[in-house]
Subunit: 408 residues, 2 copies
């Protein structure tokens, strides 16, 4: 069955998004009212974090924000801060959240808010490069790397920096470079350190998934540039809020400058809402009266654990697919020995099936194939953050393939 | 007095914004609580539209938006639309607003939302250029042009496009080009058409100021790419909402693609609020029961008229400064013969004063000098959109210079 039935995918003719572009072009009109037909495609190609919606619904009005017509008019917010367009309440909430979780050092550092961490990644490239360089800086990441990095680096054909591929095979004597270290990694969930050794490279740490629901918090991250995003932390992807924790003031200034040139700052409405959401999460952990199941990271960790347990059981019985293994370690936040349970499954096809994405497409499951991540097409990435009905249908279809596979 | 006392400007040591950068670095800590001391600087360098705050305060809860914790989580909004991250309610509100005002044709066109019109301008450059071109496209605008265009075009040293300066002196035989037509123009308020004649250039129309409070609405704009921004229309600069009305579907797709690569879409909170504000404005014009002074464009036009009348009187009596003259024409929206009353004053120094910006700085008034706009330093641009107390103090200081000038 694998590798067939691709032509029937109901590609959205209006969308500007070919399916290779990292955001969906199939099986949806308005996503606010999803329908799940047994014969329709399940889209797990993106990491759209809709799994968290039910939790926020349960929270009712706790995180509701009310914005009047006369609020937040100015371009300027806090001119005493390097990042002059950041709401002080958001900066305070970000610092408080990292103190509560214990995942990153903010003391003595600068925080820069961005329109998602996508904008901050590009701001960091700009800040670390210079128009005085004779050659564009090489930007590398160890394969499998986040599929969007190559195009985010190269789409404007910048003379400041250029994508140079897999860090494992990068020749550090070839000149100055930036290595992006994504940990836990997207797509495969591995915990990472820089790969290029002995070079004079600069580092950007993408810590989008360094939160207790995805991985044990076993150290306080303390790097030069650390990018985070609300999308993966709380699930509020539509808000487009990311933040960078930056050691060097001049780098923070240049990142701020990039965001000024790119969009003259970041939505104040989103900033206010992000601050409110973070405050409510922190309050629940600082106040011992709160029920554990009401606390965001406890709830979401339990959801991820349940999903991973279910998926592992299905895959264990499969003759077609296999999964990565993750080490266990002590999470200082939960006080428990736990395993990484990534936001994506990095599925590998076996038994002579060379194209995992096509195989899944035959099951009407949309994934993103390994080639996009600089990896083997035997791999495919699937979101673990879909809505409940989608996830269960995904498991059902994956279970069926065993029968089909046995039958052939 | 002019040209002195510059060194005393209290430059903000923390900010990443040198005063030459288009956003303020002086005379403020948190702008939400402005203080105006007779000896402090008045910052009219930016076009921060805080003049409209008092109107929105008067409107009370009419435009209040309430956003729950579980709202707007997904990256995806409306996959049936080319601009898949745009809220349908915002698209509807934009179309309704242009119908009510009659300033631009939206029928049969595509709308792309951006993080302010700054992002949309760059999206348009990306959409109109191609990596297949041997040379980067030249981007030109007739001087005096918006001071940020050169850096917005060049800051990433793109191989797709490059700033090529004043359209008046551009050699169209030098290759493909894009001309930006800003009308009414920033900084000088002039009404504009393309300047490069007979070339095979592509056009981007920046219509940020084509609204009834700034200029008579005397035609329905109907160009290939028309950029608008909430900042200048309603004063909600902090929301970072802009929109482009685009004739060609492939161009709209490429612009959408740019915004995906740049920031994976646009804040949903800001979109929802922008839609609400536009709806309230439209409702006031569609419902005959509303008082005229309660209607946004009537109110804001009256404010601009009053400010311009006051400024003209002060400048008429000045031996140091002069102003542009603007033609009158019939505004189809108000039904009145009116004059352009721009968001900026384009002040010219006379009687041997060669540097208008320095002269104003001597009066502790911060402006942006002509050189930044590709023009003579005898000119300076000053915001007409400041808060009331700032505007009145600006007039007071400008009046004083006459006495001083006479005394010397």
């Amino acid at each position: 069955m694998c590798g067939t039935d691709i032509a029937s995918a109901p590609v959205n003719k209006n969308s500007s998004l070919p399916s290779s572009n990292g955001l969906p072009s199939v099986n949806a009109t308005r996503t606010s009212t999803p329908t799940l037909h047994p014969h329709s495609f399940i889209n797990l190609e993106q990491g759209d974090p809709t799994v968290f919606e039910s939790y926020w619904k349960k929270m009712g009005d706790k995180c509701t924000v009310v914005i009047k017509g006369s609020d937040l008019l100015s371009y300027m917010t806090d001119l005493s801060n390097v990042c002059w367009f950041m709401l002080p309440e958001l900066r305070d909430a970000i610092e408080r959240l990292h103190r509560v979780v214990g995942n990153a050092v903010t003391d003595g550092k600068y925080i820069v808010v961005g329109t998602g961490s996508t904008q901050l990644f590009q701001a960091a490239l700009f800040a670390l490069s210079s128009p005085d360089n004779a050659q564009p800086l090489s930007v590398v990441a160890a394969a499998p790397y986040y599929s969007e990095y190559p195009e985010e680096v190269d789409y404007l054909r910048s003379g400041l920096y250029k994508w140079a591929g897999d860090a494992h095979v990068f020749d550090k004597d070839g000149g100055a470079y930036i290595e992006v270290v994504t940990s836990p990694n997207n797509p495969d969930g591995s915990l990472r350190e820089p790969v290029v050794k002995g070079g004079k490279g600069k580092l950007i740490h993408d810590l989008a998934y360094y939160w207790p629901h995805y991985t044990p918090i076993n150290h306080m991250a303390d790097y030069n540039i650390m990018n985070f995003t609300l999308s993966k932390c709380t699930g509020h992807a539509g808000s487009r809020i990311g933040w960078a924790i930056v050691k060097d003031k001049e780098v923070a200034k240049k990142m701020t400058r990039f965001i000024q040139m790119s969009s003259i700052g970041v939505s104040r409405e989103s900033q206010r809402r992000a601050a409110k959401i973070m405050e409510v999460i922190c309050e629940s952990y600082e106040n011992v009266m709160h029920m554990r199941s009401d606390k965001f990271f406890d709830h979401s960790k339990a959801v991820m654990t349940e999903r991973w347990d279910k998926l592992k059981k299905v895959v264990e019985q499969s003759e077609v697919f296999s999964l990565e293994n993750y080490p266990k370690s002590c999470c200082y936040f939960t006080g428990e020995i736990t395993e990484t349970q990534p936001a994506f499954a990095w599925l590998k096809s076996k038994n002579g099936i060379d194209d995992c994405e096509s195989c899944l497409r035959g099951l009407k499951i949309l994934s993103r194939g390994g080639i996009r991540f600089g990896a083997d097409p035997k791999y495919a990435r699937l979101s673990m953050l879909s809505r409940e009905d989608q996830f269960n249908e995904f498991l059902r279809r994956l279970s069926n393939v065993r029968g089909i596979s046995n039958g052939h």
